[in-house]
């Protein structure tokens, strides 16, 4: 579904700094692929480059998504093609309600794909179902996007958005940060119920094993200094947790 080949990217306009330095990675349909790595390795940069965030510059390499050249698509077209970017820090949008935002977003995506728009009633029914899945009150969906939400509520709201938009592929950037144990389980189970499907894929960026206990990844890759340095099964995450990045990476270097 997602094939990243020798990706190089810089951040910053005036004084571009190389962050991704030849990253290659493939995620197949039906696969949950966890990315772990030390701070500053380029994990968030990878997520932002895939999403098309301004300020990041791809200097070489390619990304194929659902058979298309990802970089031929604008950020909103990537979303409509089926890419969902879960934010580490979801953005507040004062004056716009979740319901309005998500209905506009879903219908914009549907229009792009040549599908019929959902009516207000149909949308509310869908929103209610997906909010229930994440144990979120509909009242919260009537509130302004992320305004006044706690860190945990923002992450839960991200998952409700993912449920409603029903993407083919999710790139989740530290979705577990700022969550308490209960919220972590709810979010993890949300990811399972929304994205565990033979036709879908997930790139799960995380620092901790605790989310992986709930969302059992099929494969785990270690991202260090802008490259994937090791890929393995779920046991790789356990080893990282026990031994630390330095030990595992030293082994790779040796």
């Amino acid at each position: 579904m997602l094939k990243i080949t020798d990706l190089h990217a810089t951040v910053g306009e005036d004084n571009p700094k190389p962050i991704l330095k030849g990253l290659s990675l493939e995620v197949a349909a039906g696969e949950v692929h966890a990315i772990m790595g030390p701070n500053g390795a380029g994990k968030s940069t990878l997520a932002n480059v895939l999403g098309g965030k301004p300020g990041y510059d791809v200097t070489s390499g390619s990304v194929e998504f659902m058979g298309e050249d990802l970089f031929d698509l604008d950020p909103h077209e990537r979303a409509a093609t089926g890419l969902f970017l879960g934010f580490q820090y979801p953005v507040e949008i004062p004056g716009v309600s979740n319901v309005q935002f998500l209905r506009e977003a879903l219908n914009a995506q549907r229009k792009y794909r040549g599908e019929e728009a959902l009516s207000g009633g149909e949308f509310l029914k869908l929103a209610k179902e997906k909010a229930g899945l994440l144990k979120m009150d509909m009242e919260m969906l009537k509130r302004q996007v992320n305004v006044g939400f706690s860190g945990g509520e923002k992450k839960r709201a991200e998952m409700v958005q993912m449920g409603i938009l029903d993407p083919k592929f999710a790139v989740l950037d530290e979705t577990d940060s700022g969550l308490d144990i209960d919220a972590l389980r709810i979010v993890g189970e949300g990811i399972n119920s929304i994205m565990r499907d033979s036709g879908k894929g997930v790139l799960l960026i995380t620092h901790y094993q605790r989310l992986l206990d709930v969302v059992k990844p099929d494969r785990v890759s270690v991202l260090a200094d802008g490259r994937i340095v090791q890929t393995g099964g779920p046991d790789l995450a356990l080893r990282l947790e026990d031994e630390g990045y330095d030990a595992v990476m030293a082994e790779v270097a040796a």
Partner: protein
């Protein structure tokens, strides 16, 4: 704002940011006309206006609000040429004045609201909210003068201005002027000018909204503040729709 026998100049505070070329075209007669509206004791009167068009337009209103009465003015200014809405308000005891205004547009037009709110008696309140969204070489102005007389104790007057500039070259001016002679009053004013939130725009794009749709939603939320006090959904939609239609010619 006395009736003008001669054309105003930049030295006149209330005309400092006006388009004097457009005013010369209108002439003294063109800017002299004023509509007087009285709100009787205890009553409420609401005026919803869409001002501006293809030629310069000056609208002047004098609103006399009786004791315990409420006068409300809501306006969208989205014309293609110089547009000025001037409101002079005289508040009775315990009266209220509510103003919500939006100036929006591109080109090189100046669109302005000029209000003079006279709190002549005790216990009156006033609340004014103006939002200006501009691009091109356009300018949005809010000149708000508040006069509180010596006997107008417990006056509560508020003014809030926010400008949103979609492009370098556009500008916004806020000129609050407070003249207070009473000692037990609350007069608040705030003014900010900024640009669209880039983080919000990317967040919206990442959820599938095109740049046009994202801008429209953000501008809609921004100008919505001006009509929060408008308790009539049909009128609110009408004023918002005129403003959002104007946005369609905006640069992204």
């Amino acid at each position: 704002m006395s009736d003008t026998a001669t054309l105003p100049t930049r030295r006149d505070e209330a005309w400092r940011y006006a388009d004097l070329g457009a005013i010369a075209k209108l002439g003294t007669a063109g800017i002299a006309e004023r509509q007087d509206i009285t709100v009787a004791v205890g009553e409420t009167k609401r005026i919803c206006l869409i001002v501006g068009g293809e030629v310069p337009d000056v609208t002047r209103i004098r609103l006399i609000v009786g004791d315990g009465a409420t006068g409300e003015v809501f306006a969208t200014s989205a014309g293609d040429d110089y547009t000025r809405l001037e409101i002079e308000v005289r508040l009775g005891k315990g009266a209220h004045f509510e103003f919500g205004g939006v100036t929006i547009g591109g080109g090189d037009a100046v669109r302005e609201f000029v209000t003079t709110t006279v709190h002549g008696e005790a216990d009156a309140t006033s609340n004014q909210t103006v939002r200006s969204v501009h691009w091109g070489q356009a300018t949005g102005n809010f000149l708000g003068e508040i006069k509180v007389a010596r006997d107008a104790q417990k006056t509560d007057a508020a003014q809030d201005f926010k400008g949103l500039l979609l492009e370098a070259g556009a500008s916004a001016n806020a000129v609050p002027q407070l003249e207070i002679f009473a000692d037990d009053v609350k007069c608040a004013h705030g003014a900010t000018v900024g640009q669209l939130d880039e983080a919000a725009r990317f967040y919206m794009a990442a959820r599938g909204l095109s740049p046009e749709l994202a801008q429209r939603l953000l501008v809609q939320a921004f100008i919505g503040d001006a009509f929060v006090g408008l308790d009539d959904e049909v009128e609110r939609e009408r004023l918002l729709n005129v403003a959002l239609s104007a946005l369609e010619s905006a640069k992204l």
